[in-house]
Amino acid sequence: MKKTVLALRCIDKWFHDQQVLDHIDFDVNEGEFLTLLGPSGCGKSTLLRLIAGFDVPTSGQILINGKDVSRVPPNHRHVNMVFQNYALFPHMTVFENIAFGLRCQRLPSADIQDRVDRVLQMVKLENLKARKPHQLSGGQQQRVAIARAAVNEPLVLLLDEPMSALDHALRKNMQLELKTLQRRLGLTFVMVTHNQEEALSMSDRVVVMSHGKVEQIGPPRVIYEHPNNLYVAQFIGETNVFETEVLAVDGNNVTVNIEDHQFVFKTRVALELHQKISVLLRPEDLRSWDNSEVDDTKDMISAVVEQVVYKGSIVDLVLRTDKGTKLSATQFFDEDDENLDFRLGEHVWVEWPFGWEIILPHEA
């Protein structure tokens, strides 16, 4: 059983008459990398500020190691934050930046020297400790910011969009590095991001938020493969959605009509006859064949190629079904299918491995 280090209990937050957080309730385990993911304005940054102690929840409790800290000031929480643009002190050297928190605790200077040096080693910045922040690259600044927070050995380290100040090429590298660093430091990370790729690739668990509510919590793979609802499915990655209804129910099997074809799907959720549902398919689950490659087209959907985007190892297709539905399909170069030479206007047959579709009740 993992130890809970941070627990949020029924947190509501109102700014004047506007509710920004609605009943937030989840636990963070020790040593976990948890990501709060959502579009801007979903309340994820507010939640982070509440955990950090810069703001107070309207109601609810924040427990750190079992102790209610909802109204405890930031410096008494054993929580530290990495700010969006790092907020490094521009007039101090890297060393002084990192030592700042320890100096506030009035530790003996030998201890400070020791601990700062140890953290500098961990973030691999020993050689740069005499530099000022403006003499560092974006990635180095990020590491200083993490070191400055980590040196205080917080129970939870909070990161507010730590990648947003970096350029695109650097971001990929830093994602890996941040994950490695988190393991090396052995700290609990709670990160805020609006970038779903970042969330999926770094986190142990992702909290998907929208409009101040938690939509789903789970490991990246569960979030991606078994989204709770249409919002999560569409926010995380691209999705093709077929709106349809249940034509027949037989135990766990339901019969539905998609693009004038009858399909029988297994379902986990109980569905009623004539219930409206959405059938979701990820672009990478769709396979497209040209006329010469198929014999039996009974379970395939007929479509026309509208757009071909070649991306090296994959090809993204935009297809239009006979009924006019637009589909995205990603095709991989592999041994099974070397013929990825799609032309605009070409007719194709689309299928997917049965069982890979996601069935959700229809949402208005």
């Binding site: 950090a52 810069f54 000031p73 410096n75 907020a87 700042f100 928190g101 506030c104 927070a149 205080n152």
Partner: protein, 299 residues
């Protein structure tokens, strides 16, 4: 850096980049102006400080260093020291008053800032001599200040402020306060307030945040403000003239007296040159204490 949003319209090359002729004309005119009305007079003063004066002429062509030697008389040294002292006190009082004001103003919303800026600037649309005279109404024996203090029971005898050093000080602080506020505000307006959140997050209490973060980062503004107050404080002769009477003679008064009353132009020139040297030293100090980026941000 922020040329795109048009904030730096004042910078010469920015709005006129394409208009080569207009640009060159403006530069030539400004240079000519400075040449004739600043550099040339200064050279005359510099030359005058090495000449002798006589009863018939203001200046006569006899080279001498006597004027500078005269400056080292106790009388003049005292005036120098008193000027520095008074200007220093003025600058410090201005700093103490201006810092909280600029700090609070920079945390206001955009429209509130404009309002307070306007409040600050409106008095400057009035002639400064007039404003100094109006201070008399406030601080004289039967003035508003004494009236208020007596009414409030804080004092039992009216204060005799007029024609004292205190009166000069009040006048100097009043006149020069905005010169402290403006550079501080320019500095604080660009202050990254997240830094204070970061410091708080790391456990810094209020005083540490102020002394380790805010003040070091606004040091360019503080130094610029000190200069902008110190330099004029030593030279605005009309403030001590009107409010301080004859009792607080400052460098500005000394220079004025040498030219207008004592008709000792060479000595007046020498005092002026000394003052210029002091100013150059102070500006050099400012230059050394700040980076080009910080200076640019204050302009």
């Amino acid at each position: 850096m922020y040329g795109s949003n048009g904030r730096l319209v004042g910078r010469l090359y920015c709005p006129m980049k394409r208009d080569g002729f207009f640009r060159q004309c403006s530069i030539v005119i400004i240079f000519a102006w400075l040449l004739f009305f600043a550099l040339l007079p200064f050279i005359l003063v510099l030359a005058g400080s090495f000449l002798t004066g006589s009863e018939h002429e203001f200046l006569s062509w006899h080279f001498t260093l006597q004027n500078y030697a005269d400056l080292f008389q106790l009388l003049y040294l005292r005036i120098f020291l008193r000027s520095f002292y008074l200007a220093g006190i003025t600058a410090i009082i201005c700093l103490i008053l201006a810092y909280p004001f600029a700090y609070i103003m920079s945390r206001f919303s955009e429209s509130a800032r404009l309002f307070w800026m306007l409040i600050l600037i409106i008095p400057f649309w009035t002639n400064s001599l007039m404003r100094i005279y109006s201070i008399i109404i406030v601080i004289r024996v039967k003035g508003w200040l004494n009236g208020f203090l007596l009414w409030a029971g804080l004092i039992h005898q009216p204060l005799h402020l007029m024609y004292t050093q205190t009166a000069s000080l009040i006048g100097l602080v009043y006149t020069l306060l905005p010169f402290m506020i403006l550079p501080l505000y320019a500095n604080l307006e660009k202050f990254n307030w997240t830094l204070l959140d970061a410091a708080r997050d790391l456990g810094a209490k209020q005083l540490r945040r102020l002394f380790k973060i805010v003040i070091p980062l606004t040091l360019p503004g503080i130094i610029a403000g000190m200069l902008l107050v110190l330099l004029p404080a030593m030279t605005i002769f009309y403030v001590p003239d009107i409010l301080g009477g004859a009792k607080s003679l400052l460098l500005g008064n000394l220079i004025k007296n040498q030219f207008i009353e004592a008709y000792n132009w060479p000595l007046g020139c020498a005092v002026s040159v000394m003052l210029t040297i002091v100013m150059v030293l102070m500006i050099a100090f400012y230059w050394k204490m700040t980076t080009p980026k910080e200076r640019r941000e204050l302009m």
